[in-house]
Every structure is written in C-alpha cells, then in structure tokens.
C-alpha cells in the first residue's frame, strides 16, 4: 500500500529533508506471461493500464516502454486540454476525457495541476468566422460550453493581443471554451504510473518491442529486448512508432509520422492567463506555471522519425506570434524540440480492434492527443477487456477507412496538416 500524498505527508517528509519519500512505482523484471501487455509507457498507455486494473480487474498486466515513461510525446506536447470538436463522435470522445480531467488529481491522489484557464481560438478571415461559428453551434448542441467572441471581446479577454484591423491577418473574432485549459504533462504520466503500479501493474522501462509472435490470426506474445513475453492481448499505444509495431504484425495503418515542434521562452512574470490558438496563421501560446511562454509550431510536410523538425516551421510560427503579440518582440526563446506525431488522413484517432485476434491499436492522435489522455485510456481499456469498443469509441475503428465513414476533424485540429 502506498503512502497517501497530503499536506501532512509533505510536512512529515520536510522534517527528514525529503530523503525518505517512498518510490512512486517499482522497477520490475518482466514475468514470463501476462493477461495483457500494453506497448508504450506514455500517458495514454499508462492510463490504459490503470483503467484495465481499476475498472476491469485485469491486474496481471504489464506496460513495456522502450525508453522511460513519459519521455515521448507525453513530455513533448504543449499541455493543452479542450473538447470543442465539430462532429458528434469527436465531441463525445474529447468531452468524456475532459470530464475525467476535472476530477483526476483527486482520483489519482496526484496533483496533475489541471487548470481550467480557458482556450480561445481566433478567426482571421471570413471563412474562419463561418467555420468557428458553426463549430460553436455544434458544440453547444452537444452540451459543450462554447461561446463566440467579437473582436472587442477577444481584446477584453486577452488584452495583449493586437486587434488592429491593419495587420496582415486581423482578428475578426474568436471562440472560447472556458472549461478548457492546461495540465502538467509529466504529472499525468507519473500519476497514472503510480496508480497502476499500486494495483499490481508491472511498468517495465528500457524494454523495446522487437517482434510480435502470431499463431495464424491470433497473437501469442511479444519479443522484447528483455526476452519473450507470452500474452493473449496486446494493446499498442506507440504514437509516432505505431506503424513500426504494426509492420511487425504484418499490418498496415493509415498513418504518416511527422515531426511536430514546440518551444518555450525564458520565464517572465504572468502576462497571459489563458491559452490562445490561431489555426490560420499557425500560432498558439500559453504560459506555464514557471512563467515560460509555451508556443506550439506546425508539422513538417514529410515523414520523419528524427524528433527535430525544420527551422522554417519555427520561423513561420514566431512571425505569426510577433504580429499577434508585439509585446513579445524582445522575448528570448530558451528551448525548442520536436515530437513524432502519427497523423490519420481524417485527423481523428484510431481506438480499435484489428484483423488479428488479441491485437488492439490506439493511435493516430496526431497533433492533439494529450487532451484525450484519460478518456483514451478509459475507452481503450474497455475495448481490450471486452474485445469490443465502447459506444464512445465505436466510430474510431480502423474499418472507417474501408467504409468511408471518416470523422473529418481537420478544422478542429489546432495544427493545420
């Protein structure tokens, strides 16, 4: 049983110079066999394991991670959480996640620093105005809080935005989701890892999957760098490397993996207390609790697994940031990095069974998977445990690319691709 984190445990540990904190999760060697194995120890994978153990009583399970947990896209995103997607299926999926976020710190006994500071999406041309108004109406019909703001209301909500109508892409209005916001991304992975570990889940780091053993159309286990692991159910949550794992099982996915970049500035005093996104000029910005501006850039046009990305992409984003926020003109950037995002042709995820029995994929989150972490884990756990999807992820099956029943969310994805 793990010690509960509280103000009292904090005070108690202060007396021993914080040297006696219990470790948050074990570091086990893999067993020979598990009831299920999750491939990928990011937020989505750890959440899947957590809900498999908690809601479906599957505790003889493992998470295998080739690096360290939360070291991939979980630690590389810009931490934005929102649910203002256009279609009913997406609204159901992302709002399911947002509802879990609202009570997650209490549930996990781990402060994920969820902050409902609002997310504002800007419109810069007539088509943007029409699309965003339509999306606002669609959101409200689905019970998602969304309001349209005129230019002066945008200025009132976030005073540092340049709303002059003389700039190249003037602000013509925007939408606001007040329940949206940010969370501490590392804490999400650590909180789920701690919770899953407590229920008996083995989290095995530095363990890379090298092959998937099949007997006909059924999976038998995984070849890993720590030996063979026998299992009847494999849930793959490998983000940018999903296609690599799929190829091991002889499957092809409708994905392309591309670098997506982000950057942070030097820390400054509080200047922006919300998240502002602008799809048309491709700039979005928020401020971390440390005071750094967190800026999201776009994807490169080519497939790459390098976690770098091109300089011209960052340059375009910073141009747009400077036009919208002239106050940042002398701000220095501290760090820039890239993550590899797996993008579906319809910019919606895949949470699905496959043609191989016992092999499940949760992938295709593209440029916006962080926001869905708790919901994605919950629904993927349901899909693995019951061998059929939950009604909230039924539309996100892999067969939609055959039937043509796509969920086109290019408009609601904040990154144009």
């Amino acid at each position: 049983m793990k010690n509960k984190y509280s103000i009292f445990s904090l005070i108690k540990n202060a007396f021993s110079n914080h040297e006696n904190w219990q470790r948050a999760w074990r570091d086990p060697e893999p067993k020979k066999e598990y009831d299920a194995v999750i491939v990928g120890g990011g937020g989505h994978g750890l959440a899947t394991a957590y809900y498999l153990a908690k809601k479906h009583n599957l505790t003889n399970i493992a998470v295998v991670e080739k690096g360290w947990i939360g070291g991939g896209n979980t630690g590389r995103n810009t931490t934005i959480i929102r649910s203002n997607y256009l279609w009913d299926a997406s609204a159901g999926l992302y709002d399911h996640a947002l509802k879990i976020w609202e009570g997650l710190s209490q549930e996990l006994n781990y402060n994920v620093m969820f902050s409902q500071r609002g997310v504002m999406n800007l419109a810069h041309n007539l088509q943007d105005v029409r699309d965003l108004k339509r999306r606002t109406h669609a959101n409200r019909l689905n019970g998602i809080d969304a309001v349209w703001l005129e230019t002066d209301e945008v200025k009132k909500f976030c005073p540092i935005i340049n709303t002059s109508q003389d700039i190249r892409y003037p602000v013509l209005g925007g939408t606001l989701q007040k329940r949206a916001g940010t969370a501490r991304h590392d804490a999400v992975a650590w909180g789920y890892a701690r919770g899953a570990d407590e229920m008996g889940v083995d989290i095995i780091q530095n363990c890379e999957v090298k092959g998937i053993k099949r007997n006909g159309d059924t999976v038998e286990g995984l070849e890993t760098t720590k030996g063979f692991i026998k299992t009847k159910k494999i849930g793959v949550v490998a983000a940018g490397h999903s296609s690599v794992i799929a190829n091991m099982a002889g499957l092809k996915l409708p994905l392309e993996s591309k670098p997506l970049q982000a950057l942070v500035s030097e820390p400054v005093k509080p200047i922006i207390d919300t998240v502002v996104m602008s799809n048309a000029v491709h700039a979005y910005v928020s401020q971390s609790d440390k005071g750094e501006l967190v800026i999201g850039a776009g994807t490169d046009s080519y497939v790459s697994y390098t976690q770098k990305g091109s300089f011209n992409i960052v340059e375009e984003t910073l141009k747009a940031i400077l036009e919208l926020y002239p106050i940042f003109s002398r701000m220095k950037m501290l760090r820039q990095w890239g993550g590899i995002v797996d993008i579906c042709p319809d910019a919606s995820p895949i949470i699905s069974k496959t043609s191989i029995k016992g092999l499940y994929f949760n992938c295709g989150w593209g440029t916006g998977g962080f926001k869905a972490t708790p919901g994605s884990g919950d629904l993927f756990a349901h899909t693995i445990a019951n061998d059929e999807p939950h009604k909230l992820n039924a539309a996100f099956n892999i067969n939609r690319f055959v039937s043509g029943d796509l969920v086109d969310e290019h408009g609601a994805a904040a990154v144009a691709h």
Binding site: N247, P254, Y302, Y305, K308
Partner: protein, 91 residues
C-alpha cells in the same frame, strides 16, 4: 532540416520543396473493379517506414518538377535521388 539535390536545379534547402508522400503507389488501372478494401489500401494505407523510404518530392518553390527520393526517415539522410518513372534503386 536538410538539403535536397534537385535533379533539375541542384542542391537547395528542403524548405523549397514539398513532400508528396510514399512513392510507387500505382493508380488503379480499372478503378470501377476495385472493392472497398482495395480502395482503402490505395487511398489511405501507408508503409510509414522508419528507415529507408521511397518518396515523391516536388520542387514547389523552384522548377516545380516532381522526382523521387530514397531517404532514411530515422536520420533524414538522403540515399538516392531518381526521376519519376524510374524503378526504385536497390539499397
């Protein structure tokens, strides 16, 4: 971030080019005879290789011509550039 040696213009920065994705996906000769699985394969399914991948590129901000590239997607190193219509090189 890398340089691409356009077969028509010479070496230029990658930002002048646009990637056209996986190469050698042949357009179906008899589209009316394809079933839904075959359409899905043609339209959506991609190898998305980590390693050497054959791709189409377009010199969008230059000569605007298309050509093929064999590139290692794990380090962005270009192994070979060859013209449209040519067979992929053995690497």
């Amino acid at each position: 971030m890398f340089l691409i040696n356009c077969p028509y213009c010479g070496e230029r920065d990658q930002s002048e080019f646009v990637s056209g994705g996986e190469a050698h996906i042949a357009r179906p000769k008899q589209p009316t005879e394809l079933n839904d699985d075959q359409w899905a394969e043609y339209l959506f399914m991609r190898k998305n290789i980590k390693g050497i991948q054959f791709e189409r590129w377009n010199h969008a901000h230059g000569c605007r011509k298309w050509f093929n590239v064999a590139r290692d997607t794990s380090n962005d190193k270009i192994e070979k550039i060859y013209k449209m219509g040519e067979q992929p090189p053995k690497i």
